[in-house]
Symmetry: C2
Subunit: 317 residues, 2 copies
Amino acid sequence: MRAVVLDNHGLRLDTDYPSPQAAPGEVLIRVLRAGICETDLQLIAGYMAFRGVLGHEFVGVAESGRYRGQRVVGEINCSCRQCEYCQAGLGRHCPNRSVLGILNHDGAFADLIAVPEANLHLVPESLSDETAVFNEPLAAAFEIPEQLDLSGYRRAVVLGDGRLGNLCAQVIARSGCDLTVIGKHRAKLALLERLGIATELLGNVEPRREADLVVDCTGSPTGLETALGLVRPRGTIVMKTTVAAEHASSLAPLVIDEITLVGSRCGPFDKALAALAAGDIDVQPLVSGTYALDDALEALHRAQAGSVLKLQLVVRQ
Amino acid sequence: MRAVVLDNHGLRLDTDYPSPQAAPGEVLIRVLRAGICETDLQLIAGYMAFRGVLGHEFVGVAESGRYRGQRVVGEINCSCRQCEYCQAGLGRHCPNRSVLGILNHDGAFADLIAVPEANLHLVPESLSDETAVFNEPLAAAFEIPEQLDLSGYRRAVVLGDGRLGNLCAQVIARSGCDLTVIGKHRAKLALLERLGIATELLGNVEPRREADLVVDCTGSPTGLETALGLVRPRGTIVMKTTVAAEHASSLAPLVIDEITLVGSRCGPFDKALAALAAGDIDVQPLVSGTYALDDALEALHRAQAGSVLKLQLVVRQ
């Protein structure tokens, strides 16, 4: 089969990669469409030392199992279902887990991917493939209200106007708080303004320490320092940014101002699907381009440009 | 009067420093005894660019006001009592505040210190001067149960066997959780063992990611990285360490494991005094030495030695 493979020789499109075998409990999914994420770019840059097929945002058709012949999306953490974390309902933190396209498990930039059947969610008929691919990153945005009661925050800032920043902003805006997105790109900020969300250019922002909540979606090791300049004493910063680079900043302000910093990763697929089905989240304007799988390397190259939002790979029409 | 002064020429004992004037709402305190804190050493090293009289842990006798002639301890944050934070009961975060011996306010390594009367707490007769001086750092330890419900944490680790680590450990041990203090100094760890608190030498510790709560009292920029190696996914790290140095570590593990990091600074004087009066906290073994104020520079030099716990300055017998 075709697959976008990252190995010791670098990144390549392999047209004769061995098809995955479904392990016990797994189902093969014929991929329809996949999305390129910042994490894919980080993996290519060396993060997690991943080797294998890239890709973890996808929609496809189940080849077997209870969703056979139907469109599904899949949670990316493949947990052991037996350890202390799995028993406590925290399978996304299972220490024995593999992660689709990220850790010890081939991903979705391929004709086929093997996914635990327990990870699958049926896609409502009303959702296009283009929209359904957004479910994985949108679920990550919905992790924020899983961790925090957003009704307790009056003034919120999302740092970063990229793919994840946009989705987090749309999720947080639903809570009715006074939200501002701060970013570097006028065109990306304009998309948010069209949704009625206030925005500011990063270059115009002075440290003002008045936000009750700051969500760092910058993807940059400097995001935390910017967040510390905007959050009020006793406020909360949510970190969505995973970068391999070191944060080189003093954390003394975090102690002096008694800030709470909350790491936040993958989230609930069911809540994201429900919001997409209800039309509550506007993802279509985020698509900056669509490529055939055969042109995946070109797409991954273009995804590194600052002007780009979401690029998708069409694997099968 | 005598005062330990830090200015652009460095640190000196001034025997003819001008006595403080009590501003409206302030009371002069004749200092009996003061404690040397890690923050004093940081200030001497350049932290906060402080200029003035050092010292913020003290017991003294009020010269006027409702505690006139009685022994008092004083909270260190001098807040405006008018701003949004003060109105919300968060005067310790007042953006207009000065801080005794730390920020725009002369401190307690002197014959006299001016303190807002509202900051004063009467010292119970039963407490010695030596014990009462511990109230300020002990209050900082009691800030942890102000911020977190400790009954929710089963396995706790305190990183650091110094002055603050010891006090935080004694406070956390009261919650009944399974507590281990990890430090570098056998003699300091032995003090904790005598209180029935389990300890480990840092050199023997492997990352094990199983603690529900880790409290960083290392005073070192590497403390956070050690804490991230010990806390479980979805666990909590409390940062008590304020250092001017930069933390150079990737925060990706914080995001991946969805760790909550809570900055923690000054705490409730009343709860600390009550615990000292009840004999619940054992501070006497922490005193490594006592110096006359006239020998303060020698004491501040000795306080930098790794083997020392608390040094106190006797200002007036």
